[in-house]
Symmetry: C2
């Protein structure tokens, strides 16, 4: 597997004022075609390691020639930090870039007329977002950081042009958009066919598998979202989420302690 050491493409921005968003324009360096040498990086805390993940989806030049890589670097050279609770973008904001989560996690939220909110997506490091904005040139949901996070910023018009020049990149973009479609479709099925406890079980298994793909333990994790977020995402109330987790705990499927979750019986969860 070809990789580009994270630090060589992405650099941390300087100090971040409280409650604000910082754009950091940074130097780029040539990526090196070496295997990941420092595997310990993947074990470090979420906020530190995940440019590796982001790159696997969006930034990694797999399948691109040296010339293409150089062009890609020119485009994806900006990162942006979002503090917990702050918005990466909001409904109605002009769409001009796609984003890839480098570190942290982000939820997407649609606000219904009447103030009720629905969480439509949970994005982890490596996930791409923003595709919903292409259609009308405006974002159609809010993207809110669940913890202090950073994202790659991919200016859309430049990226679009590059996709016209490089078929490998075009293919990647199309696959990412198709993935976004499938992500939503899976969510529709989860909401439409499953009962409350099945939905909660699926969410836990989904998070577990996504975290393990990112190099974390699959059986233990700390949720970044509240019960309210989970309920909103799963189309149920926070009380029902809480009760369901308690029941799973009592049944021995999981251990819960607030936001910390340990899965003790994967098969039982799958069979719920």
């Amino acid at each position: 597997m070809i990789d580009t050491p994270a630090a060589s493409i992405f650099h941390k921005a300087g100090a971040v004022a409280h409650g604000t968003i910082v754009l950091s324009f940074i130097n780029k360096t040539k990526p090196k075609m070496t295997a990941l040498s420092d595997t310990s990086r993947a074990r470090r805390h979420s906020a530190a390691h995940c440019s590796t993940c982001a790159m696997r989806h969006l930034c990694m030049p797999e399948g691109l020639c040296a010339n293409d890589i150089a062009k890609l670097e020119n485009i994806i050279s900006v990162t942006r930090k979002v503090k917990r609770g702050d918005a990466l973008f909001r409904t109605g904001d002009r769409f001009d870039a796609l984003f890839a989560v480098r570190s942290g996690s982000i939820k997407t939220v649609v606000t219904h007329d009447g103030g009720r909110e629905q969480v439509t997506g949970m994005l982890l490091a490596g996930d791409a977002l923003g595709f919903e904005g292409i259609e009308e040139g405006e974002h159609t949901c809010d993207a809110i950081a669940l913890e202090d996070s950073s994202v790659c910023v991919v200016p859309y018009s430049l990226f679009e042009r590059m996709c016209r020049e490089t078929d490998a990149l075009q293919r990647r973009l199309h696959r990412m958009m198709s993935h976004a479609v499938n992500r939503e479709a899976n969510h529709v099925v989860r909401l439409g066919m499953l009962r409350a406890d099945e939905r909660v079980a699926r969410l836990l298994l989904d998070l577990s598998s996504r975290l393990s793909k990112r190099g974390y333990a699959s059986s233990e994790f700390t949720l970044r979202m509240t019960r309210d977020d989970m309920g909103s995402y799963l189309g149920m109330t926070l009380e029902t989420v809480s009760r369901t987790l308690s029941r799973f705990d009592k049944a021995g499927f999981i251990e819960t302690q607030g936001k910390f979750i340990r899965i003790r019986d994967f098969d039982a969860l799958r069979a719920v």
Copy 2:
């Protein structure tokens, strides 16, 4: 608005054997840059008129130069007929083309392990489908015709190449895919935040508005789907759908007679 008379690009295939799918390879002719002269066409029955709609989204060469139009014609020259109940594609089928509904209507269905089915989409004339297949090169749902229908077939690899050459086409593809994302996201919201009667009301209003955009009366239509399909699409049982429609009827919001629906009070439906 520039249009391309439907008949000049799309030709009907010959006889269709019962229960089978026919691919019709057809001659292409040069599109003419004239306004739609026969407006009565748009008023004819669903099964007859809708290539005009399909073109607006996918086939219409709006914004393309003459040279590009010629290339586009080469690609979108195949139509396919699907008889009611038959599949345009099934889960696991190799993905090699996108489709645009020319006439009729198609549902997309995901089959859960256990036999239960969930309808994830209702496509009318002009709607594009198949984007879910790009990610893995295999379709991830079944597409079943709700009535005898026909679709434009857009070979994906050719189309992809053309999008690289023509930025107007690329922009259109990206918008269509973004639209598919938003379509699913709206469905997620419908399933996650609304109660049964709100969901039914929304579906009626949604169908009404989509049909009226296609030149049909917005207040009267004949559903092509069964109560079971509606229920599956809305994440509820067919009995609840039926009861809800009966209640709307008694309340004077709509008139129902089996699959025929007349909306009498749009505001009441919106306020449900």
